[in-house]
Symmetry: C2
Subunit: 295 residues, 2 copies
């Protein structure tokens, strides 16, 4: 029987969500923070980033249970969504079909929940006991992830995204935004799996290019779905990018060219992981799944 993506994703998702619940139970944090953090962590995400980390680890023959470390990446992703939805940022009332964190808990607690999740990710990543990982390896992972998330990564992309609202379409700026805001953390997720597996430099390199490529494709497709998708599919009102004057791929290049670019990026990603053979089947199917969202 061949590889079944749906089953694979469901299994990994379950492991990740089991860790999330066990991590915060029994609660040792103030009740309102606990509720706020769990609200966003369990709001039904696809868990794409931690699953990519695990799939990459397995493609590199990793045998340990690295779910805690992979989930730390989901903490960082969740923090970024909470802060991104704030009135001073994207000012979104809905996320995945539910009221955004600050709508439920207030802005102050939402800011703190985001801060706390970001910080807690590093508490997890700095604990070698989850899977008896070499400290030098964990330090490398922390370095990769923090660079991808920080002032030279995701935060830089968010800043450009914010200050580019309402500006004239600009190819370089939209590429910068997509590369930093979205692709950096997706690439770091894939790369972290390879680092945790102590893979060769060559394998790490190929997985990095794969991660960067699917990361860019993912954001381009997200931009396209904002135009072509339904509110139900998106979990938030369609057309919100246009309404806010966001610098998106379709705005700069048009829909057809954007779709073509996404297809080329996925093709490139698939080529990069050919050397892994069957072991990269999950990574391959995830890449195909990403492009299938626009079909």
């Amino acid at each position: 029987m061949g590889f079944e993506l749906k089953k694979y994703l469901a299994e990994k998702k379950q492991e990740i969500e089991k860790f999330i619940v066990s991590y915060f139970n029994p609660s040792i944090i103030p009740k309102i923070l606990h509720e706020s953090v769990l609200y966003s962590l369990t709001a039904g995400g696809k868990r794409l980033r931690p699953i990519l980390c695990i799939a990459s680890y397995e493609a590199c023959d990793g045998k340990k249970n690295i779910v805690p470390y992979a989930t730390a990446i989901e903490f960082i992703h969740t923090y970024s969504l909470i802060h991104d939805d704030l009135p001073a940022m994207d000012n979104d009332d809905l996320r995945r079909g539910k009221p955004t964190n600050h709508k439920v808990f207030g802005e102050g607690i939402a800011i703190l929940a985001g801060d706390g999740l970001l910080t807690e990710a590093f508490t997890i990543l700095s604990n070698p006991e989850y899977a008896d990982i070499n400290p030098a390896i964990l330090l490398k992972v922390i370095n990769e992830i923090s660079k991808a998330a920080g002032l030279r990564g995701m935060v830089a992309g968010q800043a450009y995204d914010l200050i580019s609202e309402g500006k004239e379409p600009d190819e370089n700026i939209v590429k910068f935004i997509h590369s930093y805001k979205t692709a950096a953390m997706i690439k770091a997720s894939v790369k972290s799996g390879a680092i945790l597996a102590e893979a060769s430099e060559e394998k790490i390199y190929h997985l990095e290019v794969y991660g960067q490529s699917i990361g860019l494709a993912f954001q381009i497709i997200d931009d396209i779905l904002d135009i072509e998708g339904t509110t139900e599919e998106m979990g938030k009102p369609k057309g919100s990018d246009i309404e806010r004057g966001k610098m998106t791929y379709p705005k700069v290049f048009g829909i057809e060219k954007s779709k073509e670019e996404a297809r080329l990026l996925i093709e490139k990603a698939l080529q990069e992981i050919e050397i892994f053979g069957d072991k990269a089947e999950p990574l391959r199917e995830i890449a195909k799944f990403i492009i299938s969202r626009t079909n």
Copy 2:
């Protein structure tokens, strides 16, 4: 010639600020983020936390240049101030006599600058090359600092601080707030220095108690200065705690009992570091300096 605290603090401050400037120059981050981050990092703080880290390291016979790691703690402190000043939190217009970050750069960039500084701290702490530190030691430091800063530390304290505004005075709550909001990171700063020096468990324990004690005293005195200090001394309007209905030590225990408590905490801190002899002279003088602010 005896130990001169003023000279010691000035020297350490200079080293820390030299690292801050060199770290962000040449800039590899978007201009507005760069400006926002440097604005708050160079706004004239006392650098108490990184100096405590270095002084503790030196008390434990550490000989390397750990300024980068100590400065990472200042990044975390600075992020917490930027977020704390936001309209949804303390809504402060002034900090150290200057307009707060969001007043100058807008709320969105201020949130991102804080996020970026917090993340960047872990990029620094996960780089063993600054001082050839054993990866296992750095991992321990990251674990300590992230726990002290996160959902079970500073962020928890901030959340309680926020939700306790306007509530009836409560001894347990004010102690919780002070312990988590302020003392946790001061304790972690001192403890990190000792961990970096690979000090014995016994020494680490004494320095932890020292850090916890001066941390609590520091916050109690801050509360007192909000009532008795001048706007000039504080760098922000006096009485702002009262105006916001903050749960402060003087509000719960009265001014005289608060002063007495601060004195006792500093006495306790001084006893804890007796075993270090002359090597703890800077830590001793810093403790005395903290209590001198109310004299």
